[in-house]
Every structure is written in structure tokens, then in C-alpha cells.
Amino acid sequence: MKFPILSLGRRYPIWAAVLLLYAVTALVSPAMLSPGQILNIVRVTAFLGMVATGQTIVLLTGGIDLSVAGIVTLTNILSTGMMLGANENIAVAVLACVAAATVVGLANGVLVAYFRIAPIIATLAMNSILFGVALVSTGGAPHGAAAPAFNTIAQGDILGFPASGVCWLGVSVAVAIVMKNTIFGRWIYAVGANARAAALMGVPVRIVVVAAYALSALLAMCGGLLVTAYIGNPSLGIGNPFMMTSVVAVVVGGTALSGGVGSVVTTIAGALFITELNSFTNIAQVSTGAQFVIQGVLIAASVVVYRLLGRQSRT
């Protein structure tokens, strides 16, 4: 006899973990079962989920993108500074963010693919540059605000479902389909699994890597726009939490840091898991210190679990 949760756990451990954590949270606080709170978690997960989707693409190539924090901050500063609270400025502000993110992503990719700088260093340096630009351009005193119509993408609903969640899931599923069903997607996996072998097979490795970083920057920008719409104000510290949590969400979702193994769909679950965990610790009177410990233990544990499962499936 098979227990469905066990088989789910074996095949998609992160989805089982999401359900399990949800059950535990509901035991501590039955209010978590309310539809309103479920939708609230989806609304808030969208910010991290969007950034983590981009991070997944880069991790699949065997890289890492630590500049997402700087991109979120810069997007926040740039969009609020250009919108100035007026709806007619939304289009130009968003276009400016798209342009900035594209430049940053291409630069990251070129540094990694053509100048052969280790991704962790290249993107960390980029993160520092972006934060510095945000600081210098604002003089430490950011002005402006998001436009009311723009704020509805994070604060509003579409047919009763959080608009931010619709954006995130729509984009994530689209990226997942691209990764699974297109040549470009297969190239990403091939580069991550073995770049040299991929090159020998005719994969344009450098271009694929550049594209991966560009996509990551654009998706981080989307996450930055969502979190900006959620709060409506500029804040120089807004991007900071994303540097680590975006990587954690991807890794907990089962994508290997070494590249080539994983999927965008499990990152959806990974992002949900991290947000649920935060929500749980908010409600369960857990201190911030304990929250860090729990997060660290879960990262380590998830890697061990995936390794064990991987071994099992081979034998």
C-alpha cells in the first residue's frame, strides 16, 4: 500500500514540505487555514518567487546571481523616483527599469562568460556597484512614490486572486515551459551540466550564459517592481533580504548549486516554503535568531535529502 504523501515526498519533496509546513503552521494557529491568509501568502511570495525564478536559470547554468539585491533596490529607487506618484509616469518608469536591468544583466553575463570572472565575484561586485549607484543618485535621501494605479499590481486582486501572485505564477510557468520545451532551455541545462561538452555539441555557451544573467536581472527587476508596488515608497534597504533568500528558495526547491539539475517549477514551491516559514515564525513567537537557525538547518537538510533521494533513484 502506498501513501500518497510518501510518494509525493519521494518525487517532489519540496511540495510535500510545503504541505507539511502548512499543516504544522495551521496546528499552531488555525487562522492560517483561512482562505484570506493563503492568498496573503501567495501575494507576498510573489516578490521572492519572481526573483528566485531568475536565480534558478542562473543556478542551472552553474552560476549564481548575487546582484539581485542591488537590482531590486535600484528598481525601487528608479521606479518611485520616476513615477513621482503619478499614473501617467508609470510607462516611462517601467521602461527605464527594464532598460537598466537589461544593461546590468548583460554586463553580469559578459563578465562571467567572456572575462571569465567567477560568478560569485562578478555579481557581488555588481551588487555593490548598484547599491552605490542607488546611494549616489539619491544622495541618501530618495524621493518619489509609486503611482496609485501601479500599486494595484501588488495590492490589488484579479478575480479575487492576488494580482502579484498572478504575475509571478504566470511568469514562472512561462519560464518553466521555455526551460522544458525549447532548445534554449535545453542549452541552459547542457551548459550547467558540462559547459565543455555542451560547447563540443555546438551549444553557444557564452551566449547562453549571457542570456541567463540577463533573464535573471529582468526577473529580479519584476520582483523589485512588485515589492515597490506593495509598499509604494522608496527604501534603500528594500533589496537586501533577496540576496540570500533567492538562492535559498532555489536550493530548497531542489536545484543544485553545481548546475544542470533542477527546475523552475520546484522553485515556485521553494519560494512558497520560505515565505510560509517566515509566516510561521512570525506567528509562532519564534525569535529572529531562531528564525535564522531554522533557515540554515533547512538549507543544509534539504541538500542532504536531495542527495539521498538522488542516490536512491540511481540504485
Binding site: S29, A31, M32, S34, G36, Q37, N40, R43, V44, F131, L135, G139, G140, A141, P142, H143, G144, A145, Q155, V227, Y230, I231, N233, P234, S235, L236, G237, I238, N240, P241, N278, S279, N282, I283, Q285, S287, T288, G289
Partner: protein
């Protein structure tokens, strides 16, 4: 990057802070000039002055510069220095939130043989040896805003978190009529400022007040909003919000608004965003009240003046307490800056024109 930014903009006060400036000067500039009674000696101990004629060089080791409070503080110091350019020159170094870099910065200032060093410390422990070295070199040292361990510095001035907490606790208790369920928000995990404020506030909350959850929200509006959304789901009844920074109070209120819950009394500081929010929402939310204690961003001016006095042969108190401003629903219009961004801290000597220029 962020670790010290917010902990260092935190600061606070003294019981019975007056509204002298606001009353005298009307609404446009609540504090055009710093009143003599806004800074009071904390102890009888005096710092010994030296007499240095001629042009002076004053170093300022700013631990971090990435938030609006620090930006306003630094701007006011620059204006003060420009007005006294014949007496001294101000040299600013930025620790970028890094404990080690700040120690190096101070060492550099000592090597340059400046006459005085002002410090907002990233770590009250780490800068001790550097300040002792400055002391041995005959340099006047004035840490301010955040306390530094020991007493190997010439003079210190800052506000008192515990006293701020006492006021906030008492006021929150009053606004709630001594009973109700509240949630609370602290700044960065483990920072001594939030701990001090809460230490002062806790005993002032009556037995009828139940703290459901006290969470760290890093003095970030978005973080407080996310946490509050969770707390709203978990607790059907929340009657009040304790917070040591008004960004978190307004973030939490925005979550209440989004959830369609009636808004409740809050505490905080002089963050313009909360004043604007209160102004917009109070008509529809009779139970929305606020009691705030400011974080004067003009502290840097006081520190500069203390250093100059000490270099001009005038003894000053070794420890001085800065008095903050109390803002509530009755007087907030005097402080609110409707045309300026939410991020402005309103207890400042900067005029609206200067703030507009700074925030552009």
C-alpha cells in the same frame, strides 16, 4: 550593507521634551535654531577643554550614510560647518556600515592630526581602542548618537532610548485605556536601541495590556507590512501597535488597511510617512491615534558645537542628553510635510526648501 544603517539612526531622548521651537516658529520650520534647553547635562561630570586658537580641522567618522536620517544629519552638519568656515573645516569619512573600516577611518583622521573627531559608531565596542589612541594624541573626541563603551572619549551626547520607551509605553497604555491586545515591532535583530526602548516601555504597559507578538522588522516599512499581514491572520483582535520607529508603524497600518481592519493606536518617531498617513486616514478611522517621540537629526550640530567649545577652552558636560519632540494627533500638523517624501524625518533644522533640495 544594512546592518548598521538603521541601528545608528536610532536614538533618543529625554522626558518632558518641549515643543518650544514649533510654538515659536510656526509650522514651516519647527526648529530653525536649536534651543539652549534642548540639550541637558546627563551627569555633573565635566569634560576638560583645551585652548586651540586659529583654524581648526574637525573630523567626522560617520559609521554609515545610507538612510534619510543620516543624510539629514550630515546635511545639517555641513551647513553648520559652512557657516563657521572661518573657525573650522569639517572632514567627513564614511565607514560604509563596516566596523573595521570605521576603525581605519578614525586612525586616518588621527594620522592627519585633526583637532577633534566626531563619531557615530557602528560598534560601541570596536571604536574604543581607536578613540583611546586619539585621546593619547591630544585629540578631542565626541562620539554622539550611539553610545561608546568606557570613558576614553572627551564628551558624549545622544538621546536616551529607555526614556523614549517610558513615554511610548505610557502613551500607548493611555490610548488603549489600559487594556487590549497589542503587537510590537523592533528594529534590527539584537540592536541595543530597540532593547532600550522596550525596556523603558514594558513596565509602563498596564496589566490589562497583552503583547501578542514582538517582532524584528529592521525599521523597514515593507518588512513590517508583511509581518503584520501574518499577525492579522493569526490574531482576530489587535487593539494597538507598539513600535520604536514610525516606518514600521505605518507599514503595519497599511497592512490593516489592506485587510480591511479598523485601524488602531500606534507609537513611533518623527517619520513623515506616518504623519501623512494619519492625516489621510484619521477621518475614516476614529480609533486611529498616534503618540510619537522624535529622533532629532540636528544632533550632529550639537556635537560640532560641543567640539568647538572644548577646543576653545570652554568646559562642557561629559554626558549630555538630547531632548526630542513629542508629536501626536493634536500637534502633528505643525510637523507634517505634505509636499515632501515619506522618508523625511521632520525633527530637523533644515527648512522645507533645503529638504526639497536634499530629497530631489
Amino acid at each position: 550593507m544594512k546592518t548598521f544603517e538603521d541601528s545608528s539612526r536610532r536614538q533618543v531622548l529625554k522626558l518632558g521634551a518641549g515643543l518650544v521651537g514649533g510654538l515659536l516658529l510656526g509650522s514651516a520650520a519647527a526648529r530653525a535654531e536649536i534651543g539652549s534647553d534642548w540639550v541637558v547635562p546627563a551627569t555633573d561630570e565635566m569634560a576638560k577643554a583645551i585652548n586651540k586658537p586659529g583654524k581648526l580641522r574637525i573630523g567626522f567618522s560617520n559609521g554609515f550614510s545610507g538612510n534619510t536620517w543620516r543624510t539629514e544629519c550630515l546635511e545639517q552638519m555641513k551647513i553648520e560647518a559652512a557657516a563657521n568656515a572661518d573657525r573650522y573645516q569639517l572632514i567627513v569619512v564614511d565607514g560604509q556600515g563596516d566596523i573595521t573600516k570605521q576603525v581605519n577611518d578614525i586612525d586616518d583622521l588621527i594620522a592627519q592630526k585633526v583637532d577633534a573627531i566626531l563619531v557615530i559608531a557602528n560598534s560601541g565596542t570596536a571604536v574604543v581602542p581607536a578613540l583611546r589612541k586619539a585621546e593619547r594624541a591630544g585629540i578631542i573626541t565626541v562620539p554622539f548618537n550611539l553610545p561608546v563603551d568606557g570613558d576614553h572619549w572627551t564628551a558624549y551626547l545622544g538621546t536616551d532610548p529607555r526614556q523614549k520607551g517610558m513615554i511610548l509605553g505610557e502613551k500607548l497604555n493611555d490610548m488603549l485605556g489600559g487594556k487590549g491586545k497589542i503587537v510590537g515591532f523592533d528594529g534590527l535583530p539584537g540592536n541595543s536601541y530597540s532593547a532600550g526602548v522596550w525596556e523603558g516601555a514594558k513596565p509602563k504597559l498596564g496589566p490589562g495590556i497583552e503583547m501578542l507578538a514582538l517582532k524584528d522588522a529592521d525599521w523597514e516599512e515593507d518588512k513590517a507590512k508583511v509581518i503584520m499581514a501574518d499577525l492579522l491572520a493569526a490574531y482576530p483582535q489587535i487593539d494597538g501597535i507598539y513600535s520604536d520607529g514610525a516606518q514600521m508603524a505605518v507599514g503595519a497600518l497599511r497592512a490593516m488597511k489592506a485587510a480591511g481592519r479598523a485601524m488602531v493606536p500606534v507609537t513611533g518617531d518623527d517619520y513623515n510617512g506616518l504623519l501623512k498617513f494619519y492625516h489621510a486616514e484619521k477621518a475614516n478611522n476614529p480609533n486611529l491615534k498616534m503618540s510619537l517621540v522624535s529622533e532629532p537629526s540636528w544632533e550632529g550640530i550639537v556635537a560640532l558645537r560641543a567640539a568647538i567649545k572644548l577646543l576653545s577652552g570652554e568646559n562642557t558636560p561629559k554626558r549630555q542628553t538630547i531632548k526630542p519632540t513629542r508629536i501626536d494627533g493634536d500637534n502633528y500638523l505643525k510637523y507634517m510635510k505634505p509636499d515632501l517624501p515619506d522618508g523625511v524625518f521632520v525633527d530637523t533644522t533644515l527648512t522645507d526648501e533645503q529638504l526639497k533640495k536634499l530629497f530631489s
